[in-house]
Amino acid sequence: MHCSAAFSQAATSATAVPTISGSRHVGALHSSSSSSSCTLLIPSKPINLRFCGLRREAFGFSPSAFTRCSNSQRVRLPSRRRFKGSNVSASLGDNGIPKSFDYDLIIIGAGVGGHGAALHAVEKGLKTAIIEGDVVGGTCVNRGCVPSKALLAVSGRMRELQSEHHMKALGLQVHAAGYDRQGVADHANNLATKIRNNLTNSMKALGVDILTGVGTILGPQKVKFGTDNIVTAKDIIIATGSVPFVPKGIEVDGKTVITSDHALKLEFVPDWIAIVGSGYIGLEFSDVYTALGSEVTFIEALDQLMPGFDPEIGKLAQRVLINPRKIDYHTGVFATKITPAKDGKPVTIELIDAKTKEPKDTLEVDAALIATGRAPFTNGLGLENINVVTQRGFVPVDERMRVIDANGNLVPHLYCIGDANGKMMLAHAASAQGISVVEQVTGRDHVLNHLSIPAACFTHPEISMVGLTEPQAREKAEKEGFEVSVVKTSFKANTKALAENEGEGLAKLIYRPDNGEILGVHIFGLHAADLIHEASNAIALGTRIQDIKFAVHAHPTLSEVLDELFKAAKVNF
């Protein structure tokens, strides 16, 4: 029902006559970077950004000129809907059509998910607003992926410079590599600021209204932001993200007991830091801290470090990222109580056995980083107004991100993407979900294949993965009655990796030998995070091994690791 309505809406909007005014198009072009003929109109991309501050009336691209962008249906369509206003979202109200909604789409939360959705919505011609109660960019840009990459960039270089063996093997001589903590912290902070501004500007340039204040859903299609501003929209996307999860008994003081929020500011580099949780966040921080001279103790509730990674990759990663570094660990234990350093006393951590619940140990360290995962940020969202009950804080959604209410029914016109729905707590997954939702509300059914979403951990070397782990694949195979094969290649056999003196690494392909379907790819090695996309794209597009193995890779490049992987796979075809 929902879909057919959306289709009709799209159909009506397509017949509308475009009134073109500049900035929207510029933005649309910028975001979709679509047609080559359009570049005739706009000399070069960077100039696009200069249009940001100008009102759209200032640009009078004539419709005829615009139609020269003949091969870009995607650019033209949105322009019609945007400025004429569609029948459904007759928000402009000056064309005689009853004014029903202020916006076509309101997104609550301007993180990476909301931003991705907003950009795509504009491209699709929706009048879009984004509500942000804090700063644009959300967790990823301000307190997550972005600043952490800045720190990791530093740690990667430090690690390299400190590795006498590595340097010597390359014939380099470096003495006494050191760092300035404030300088490193500034780099992270500057990067976050820069990306935040880029994000803000790109949305402004596209004409997305940024509404400042905390967003609350008052009822169907109605949202309050700030203290008493009420706006309506045909569709609403919840994209409120998450906050660091802090288990009970842990007192976070922001100085000696910290979460990733604080750690990214790098206010101090402790001699000894305990990291509670050995997932992505914990691992990345262990990489940063050990490179900067700290010693690290991991506290992991499960029996093995790095749960969630393919076991084989985890094992290798442990051998490379943990064992040779100044890291020790306690597995199978819970940190039941963590007290910040006070009155000359160190941070104390009480550990109990995860199974027997018996006290096991007490640690005294200089600092503790809580990296036990993230909790959805959905409080105060007004979900009760539409009869939606969260599950452990997560907003329940179906595979199309449509919100499900307490009775198990879909809430019309309401979607939830990103960390708030908990399906896959990754920035780019949120963005992909947002784009999927926009596709749906603009009349094209779309279900996002989460198995095609890659994930990466930016340690040195990096870890990346897409699809199923080997145990998951085998379980699925058992259930569905197909065969699973695994092939592996090593970075040791890759020329480029050896040239970089970084031969440590493994790539692993899990596939179906009967039809050549790629079930999962896991990479541990130099630039693994960049290498994974060949595999994730293949999964997303349904490319089979028997086809992709004929694709050519430049030599010598790291991408040949995957090339070799595909070529090594045996498909019974």
Binding site: E295, T297, E312, R319, K326, D328, P346, T362, S490
Partner: protein
């Protein structure tokens, strides 16, 4: 004893076949002994071109229990490092090719015992078979060998440790008096690598935590102390790095230069004390305890001598009188502390002292037993030293150097000449808080107590 030689691994090529043949051959005579199995773990063929493999690391160590599917060893082939997993449960009994070693494909690199009892047996077998690289090493005589070689447990050579404790060394407050070892992750790692026992390392990190350099010092220490052990062992003109204890002593001594000290000496007649000692010696009372007790009682009357100045701006009258007594130990010295020496009776004090000395020799002193002194006694009388001068340990107010008590010809006030046992004491004190008159009157009190020691045995 007949063993079933059977592979624990599934290598992809010939070794399996070879092993199977052995298995078939062996089984004929030993079907009844199937329950006692020692399996060989051998170098698998990780690729078609692999002829030999290098052991990158043993993931597990000897004696570890292994479960099917667990990684045991990391092997480097011509192409990659691979984890090698066990296909059987059991105990890793003996590692035959150490880390870094190379073995040809199919040769035994370790033995896996099925039960804990068989570990020793497997080790014996390994010792007997000798050549680890011969996969077909026969074990037909192993029963005899087992009998002849009783439990050749491969003892890891433990390096002798330097003295565990040092004057004034801090200990982690949360380490429950030293029961629990607080060491940083890298220190632990290093200790394992350098085979240093952390319990015997003194931490110099924050709050007494053991950090990497302490372990390194401890690892370097034994060499130095071995060299210094006997004149024969000293390598002349060699540079000997400080042991942890020497390092700590050195730091303390340099620190002491910041304190303006002065000295006051006194001669005390000990005839009465000696007589008392003779009387109660049989009850386990020691001279050290008597001296400590006498000193403590004198300190009660002169609290300023029991004070300490740490910051140069203020000083503290210590609430208890804890007499630290310097004791020479191998490679250094330590100051066990008789706590509340003024309050405890002489018998308790003597027992306590004995206990402390035993502990000090065994290097088992807890931190509070050696670093809480408020006044220090140092006695070199047993060497015949008649007088000497002690350096004030930082953080305390005074130290008393006690010489030997010797028969001396003295002229008494009544004009006679007589023989008396006399000893010289020499107190070094921090002049910022303790002045000459304080020490003088303290010494006068002490002399009175020692010369009329009735109060010592109340």
């Amino acid at each position: 004893m007949a063993h079933l030689l059977q592979t624990t691994f599934l290598p992809s090529s010939s070794p399996l076949i070879r092993r199977n043949q052995t298995y078939i051959l062996r089984i004929s005579g030993s079907r009844t002994r199937v329950n006692a199995k020692i399996r060989e773990i051998f170098m698998p063929a990780l690729s078609s071109t692999m002829t030999e493999g290098k052991i990158v690391s043993w993931v597990r160590s000897e004696g570890d229990k292994l479960c099917k599917g667990e990684s045991v060893v990391v092997v480097e082939s011509d192409k990659a490092d691979m984890d090698v997993e066990t296909f059987y449960d059991g105990y890793l009994a003996k590692i035959m090719v150490d880390e870094g070693g190379v073995a040809s494909v199919g040769s035994a690199i370790a033995l896996l015992a099925e039960s804990e009892d068989e570990i020793a047996e497997a080790q014996a077998k390994a010792a007997a078979s000798g050549s680890p690289s011969s996969p077909s090493s026969e074990t037909s005589n192993s029963a005899a060998v087992v009998a002849a070689v009783p439990h050749p447990q491969p003892e890891k050579v433990k390096l002798a440790e330097p003295a565990a404790v040092t004057v004034g060394s801090a200990v982690h407050p949360a380490s429950e008096g030293g029961k629990r070892i607080v060491a940083s992750p890298y220190a632990k790692k290093l200790a394992k690598e350098l085979k240093v026992e952390l319990a015997r390392v003194v931490g110099s990190g924050p709050k007494g935590r053991i950090v990497a350099k302490d372990v390194e010092a401890a690892a370097a220490g034994p060499a130095a102390s071995v060299a210094a052990a006997g004149p024969a062992g000293i390598e002349l003109a060699s540079v000997v790095p400080f042991t942890t204890m020497q390092g700590a002593v050195s730091r303390n001594m340099v620190e002491s230069l910041a304190v303006p000290t002065f000295r006051v000496g006194y001669t005390i007649t000990t005839d009465a004390l000696d007589a008392l000692y003779k009387k109660i010696k049989s009850k386990g009372v020691t001279m050290t305890a008597l001296l400590a007790k006498a000193t403590a009682l004198a300190l009660v009357q002169h609290p300023v001598v029991n004070s300490s100045c740490r910051d140069g701006n203020s000083f503290i009258y210590n609430s208890s009188i804890n007499i630290a007594v310097a004791v020479a130990v191998d490679g250094g010295l330590i100051t066990p502390v008789l706590q509340d020496a003024d309050k405890a009776d002489i018998y308790t004090l003597s027992r306590k002292w004995k206990e402390l000395v035993d502990k000090a020799r065994a290097k088992l002193l807890q931190p509070h037993e050696y670093n809480t002194g408020t006044f220090t006694l140092s006695n070199l009388g047993m060497f015949g030293v008649d007088r000497f001068d002690a350096i004030l340990p930082p953080g305390t107010g005074a130290i008393m150097a006690v010489g030997a008590s010797e028969p001396t010809v003295v002229a008494t006030k009544d004009g006679r000449i007589g023989m008396k046992n006399q000893m010289q004491v020499n107190v070094t004190a921090d002049h910022r808080v303790i002045y000459g008159a304080d020490l003088a009157s303290f010494l006068q009190t002490l002399a009175k107590i020692i010369e009329d020691p009735r109060d010592l045995t109340f």
